[in-house]
Amino acid sequence: MTVVLNQSFTGISIGAVLLLIALGLTLTFGQMGVINMAHGEFMMAGAYTAYLLQQAIGDAGFSLLVALPTAFLVAGAMGALLEWLLIRRLYTRPLDTLLVTWGVSLMLQQLARDIFGAPNVQTRAPEWLTGNIGFAGTTLATNRLFILGLALLCVLGLTVVMRSTPLGRRIRAVVQNRDLAKVSGIATGRVDRTTFFIGSGLAGLAGVALTLVGPIGPTMGTNYIVDAFLVVVVGGIAQLKGAVITAFALGVLQSVLEYSTTVSVAKVVVLVAIVAFLQWRPQGLYTLRTRSLA
């Protein structure tokens, strides 16, 4: 029983990390159809922001709290800049966005290497995030609980923005039919940039969260980007709830398999399961009904 609880928690915590990274992608890839390979590097930017703030501030707990909004803004600004410079010219050419943003991601990795040096760096976690809480015979790591809380908060925030704000309505309108939205008087360019800002900002938050579990380095984004795309694709690309369910399902599946087999076997089985699922349901778990004529 303890084993089951422990493993479920581990799976949920892996899922929380996946979800945090995939959340931004459901906006930029799912909603806007942009294959943003630089998403992982925005994450890296968030992580380095946390590192720099800790160097400047010192206090681990306080700097972490400051890092969350700052990383959101930094990564968001980078995303908006990328959108303005390159992506807005490529909205009708999704494959080109892949190549362009892949190039950008390589440049950002090299830039990070030049600025911060090639070796990875670490942040110190505040004392209250290095322990664990005993619960029904299991131990729940506090850093993982923190990440889970953060992921759920982001989902909640994003849901509220998308459902109940004018901005959210405009985003949905643009996604469903860009031309119709434009002739209805919506400034689609500005909406695109804002959407990209939010999506990339969420990657920044994910980056801060990752500093709690592992090292910070120029290539940290590449470790997660494929998993994040898988979550979005399996979830049904335009759907928040699809991403949430998929992230946790993949996390739990991975950890359960890992427990009974090995890490590599678990990875293979999860990938095979994803391929099989997409054969059965190519559109993913949920799909957005759009009125676009394409």
């Binding site: 799912g30 294959i35 999704p94 090639a118 995030l129 290095t130 592992g214 290539t219 890490v263 799909t287």
Partner: protein, 417 residues
């Protein structure tokens, strides 16, 4: 058909295209290697200087460890140049980045030998990188000095191994655990050559010494998810963990270990790839009290070490720790210098012939080259991480241990290969 579905297809096509590109470039690297100029590339020793190659990962997951090795190599080169060089020629170090990527290591080794025409190359860390460059050095009959402890069971006529082989590190570490009364081991390692071979040896040792291996797990190099592995460790009823993780996976592992509620007191971890530099970057709070097995620590007593630490910190910063692979790298350049001087020539065959018995008063104590195996005699040490991040010795072998890469001196190892 909606645009969104199309874009998902687009993603899959794009990703497979990327994969194909990567595969193609890997093939390219391979063909480039085999169609090279062939054997016997000779070093250029005509001028006032002699080039030596430094081959380390200056980027990627291994950079955390290998940059310090490069720095130590440069220090040794600087010292030798200050003392007049080798056979009257100054050394000119040429540094190449293996980028934590094995085909890249092979490519750069090739370039160092055939384009730069170095007299000897120093470097590599992971066994995977060493296995990747081994055929390159053998084909060109060029010398590599490899400074890191490794899994043994290897002997190349063109490689000098100045780090520990298994009977100078892993076997003493197991002896130590056994003496402390540990009988149930959990093995955690990175998924590549060194940990898998090391664990084969550990299992053979355990079977012959009344110990039990209660679990064995491998994580991909660079992996940061250790939740499940830590859970498995907890559930397996182990009384010690033998850790052969390499690189920055250790950061994630020890963070998870501590937040999982495990401590050095409740379940000690003995690591063979964590030295002073890694302790600093993983964070002392995660490592305090844990054990490591090496041949050298920054705290190892002796005048040679005081000089080494002082010189290193003067060159790279007061707060920079020294570590075992750095020391073995530093020693390797000095050993090569002595071999060349004894041979009176930079010629690889002459240097190899002169190698046996070459000794150096190293920071770790006296090391002597064994000409037959091209390994060195080294003192084995077990250390404990203190609250200040320094590692202090809790046990040593009392004197240099003769290298035994194939473990011929141990009955239990007879089935290994």
């Amino acid at each position: 058909m909606s645009e969104l579905i199309l874009s998902r297809r687009g993603l899959l096509t794009g990703v497979s295209a990327l994969g194909a590109t990567a595969a193609l470039s890997a093939c390219g690297a391979k063909t480039g290697g085999t169609t090279s100029t062939g054997s016997g590339a000779t070093a250029d020793t005509s001028g006032d200087t002699v080039k030596v190659g430094l081959l380390n990962s200056l980027s990627g997951t291994m950079a955390i460890s290998e940059v310090t090795v490069r720095d130590a190599l440069l220090l040794a080169v600087k010292e030798i140049n200050a003392a007049g060089g080798v056979l009257g020629k100054k050394l000119e170090p040429v540094s190449q980045d293996g980028a934590s990527d094995w085909p890249t290591f092979a490519e750069k080794a090739e370039a160092l030998i055939t384009d730069t025409r170095v007299a000897a190359t120093f470097g590599c860390w992971t066994s995977a990188s060493r296995k990747a460059v081994k055929p390159v050095f053998e084909r060109h009959k060029a010398l590599l000095f490899y400074p890191v402890q490794y899994e043994g069971l290897e002997q190349s006529p063109y490689i000098f191994y100045t780090g520990a082989t298994t009977n100078q590190q892993i076997v003493p570490a197991l002896d130590y655990l056994k003496k402390q009364g540990h009988t149930r081991l959990y093995l955690v390692g990175s998924d590549y050559v060194f940990p898998r071979t090391a664990n084969k040896i550990i299992k053979a040792y355990a079977a012959a010494n009344g110990m039990k291996v209660v679990g064995e797990d491998y994580a991909p190099l660079g992996s940061t998810e250790f939740g499940t592995i830590v859970n498995k460790v907890k559930d397996a009823g182990a009384d010690a963990v033998f850790n052969t993780l390499n690189g920055d996976s250790n950061v994630a592992f020890f963070k998870e270990y501590k937040s999982g509620g495990l401590t050095a007191r409740s379940l000690p971890v003995l690591s063979v790839s964590i030295a002073e530099e890694e302790v600093k970057s993983i964070g002392t709070q995660y490592l305090e009290g844990q054990l490591t097995a090496w041949n050298y620590y920054q705290t190892t007593p002796g005048a040679a070490n005081t000089g080494f630490v002082t010189a290193y910190q003067a060159a790279y910063g007061k707060d920079k720790p020294t570590s075992d692979p750095m020391e073995a790298a530093y020693v390797s350049v000095h050993l090569w210098k002595r071999m060349v001087e004894k041979a009176g020539s930079f010629d690889v065959a002459a240097v190899k012939a002169a190698a046996d018995g070459i000794a150096f008063d190293a920071p770790e104590g006296k090391v002597t080259v064994d000409g037959a195996t091209q390994h060195v005699h080294k003192t084995a040490r077990i250390g404990k991480v203190g609250a200040d991040g320094r590692i202090t010795e809790v046990w040593n072998s009392g004197g240099p241990v003769a290298p035994d890469p194939y473990l011929k001196g141990y009955d239990w190892a007879s089935g290994l290969s």
